[in-house]
């Protein structure tokens, strides 16, 4: 499973009725608030075993599944 699918699954678990595509701004949908952004940070850091640098903690990086997936790519330590 790729990053996009895993992030999508996390959001789906929390909001089963949400219809999402990878480019959709999840905060513009109305049922997710900025506190959920914090949960996304914690999920991404724990799940992908990365540490997101403070300067990347910008809401723009968590607005869409695509943006989060790119963030994970940028933060991942090359194997």
């Amino acid at each position: 499973m790729n990053e996009r699918a895993e992030i999508r699954m996390f959001i789906r678990e929390r909001f089963p009725n949400a219809e999402l595509d990878d480019q959709q701004n999840i905060f513009a949908l109305g049922y997710v608030n900025s506190l959920f952004a914090m949960e996304l940070v914690l999920f991404i850091e724990k799940h992908f075993r990365i540490e997101i640098p403070n300067e990347e903690l910008d809401i723009a990086n968590f607005c869409t599944i695509d943006a989060m997936s790119e963030l994970v790519g940028r933060c991942a330590v090359p194997a």
Partner: protein
């Protein structure tokens, strides 16, 4: 930049300490146990890190600004003290005589309270002109307005110092006179208490009560979600203080509120209140 004593490392105290430290003040954070202080340091680091996501424009936190200690004597170095002890009159009152003997004569004491008489707290010190109320809103780093309470003897110079300190952390104060619950809580606590009665009397579910406020009145949050954010234990204390202060039955706490507090359903901070915060952010429990 000043050295600010912050007493109490609960929800409000940690928020105040974080905000002050992020704006370059040195903070002496005092509480009764090292366990509480360690948790507060973690919480402050975490909140400061997440701040931008939640819309804060405060500068990054330097942890060296934060000095956490269980030793009240450390407050001898403070220029200004903000007290955030639990809203129980006896607990708060015990702090003031102690502070008065430790701090320099020119130091202002600000009570972060939503309901307790600033005039009375001032009377427990030798400096009632330098005792003032500062009712911060939660979460402190994100709220720009503070209800500032002028006690009977609070001097204009003290009000100015308090407003200057608030300005240094990007906040404005609204100055009101000392009366039980001031403006904010006299209205808010009654509203929340009545909303709990509606749930208890099965007139409406918590979601429906809140939806009326958010949809019809355009409030950002309904009264019960607000209660969960503030903490149901704090709500109960505040209503009890109003009841005791006015001796008016309209402030009697709703039995359901008391039961929930006894059951440990303290709201967001305990994971459950009128809503559950473990999984879906808004899943009603009451």
């Amino acid at each position: 930049m000043q050295r600010i004593g912050v007493i109490g490392a609960g929800v409000m105290g940690t928020g105040v300490a974080q905000d002050l430290a992020q704006h370059g003040h040195d903070v002496i954070l005092v509480d009764v146990s090292d366990v509480i202080l360690a948790r507060a340091r973690d919480q402050i680091a975490h909140s400061a890190r997440m701040g931008r996501l939640l819309g804060s424009s405060a500068p990054p936190l330097e942890m060296r600004r934060l000095h956490a200690t269980t030793d009240y004597e450390a407050l001898a170095a403070a220029d200004f003290v903000i007290e955030n002890v639990t809203e129980k009159r006896q607990l708060k009152e015990e702090v003031y005589a102690r502070l008065d003997s430790i701090c320099r004569g020119d130091v202002v004491f600000a009570a972060n309270t939503s309901a307790i008489s600033v005039t009375r707290l001032g009377s427990l010190t030798s400096r009632p002109d330098r005792v003032i109320g500062m009712h911060f809103m939660n979460p402190v780093p994100l709220k720009r307005i503070v209800e500032v309470i002028r006690g009977w003897h609070t001097s204009p110079a003290t009000i100015e110092r308090a407003l200057d300190l608030l300005a240094s952390i990007g906040k404005d104060g609204v100055v009101v006179s000392d009366a039980p619950g001031f403006v904010s809580n006299r209205v808010l606590m009654l509203t929340i208490n009545e909303a709990v009665y509606l749930v208890q009397d099965q007139v409406a579910t918590p979601e429906d009560v809140d939806r009326i406020f958010t949809s019809c009145f355009e409030h950002k949050m309904g009264p019960l979600a607000t209660a969960d954010l503030i903490g149901l234990d704090t709500i109960l204390f505040s209503i009890e203080v109003l009841y005791e202060s006015f001796n008016d039955s309209k402030y009697r706490p709703c039995p359901l509120l008391k039961r929930m507090v006894d059951a440990g359903l303290h709201g967001r901070k305990s994971g459950r209140g009128f809503y559950s915060y473990h999984h879906d952010a808004l899943e009603a429990t009451a």
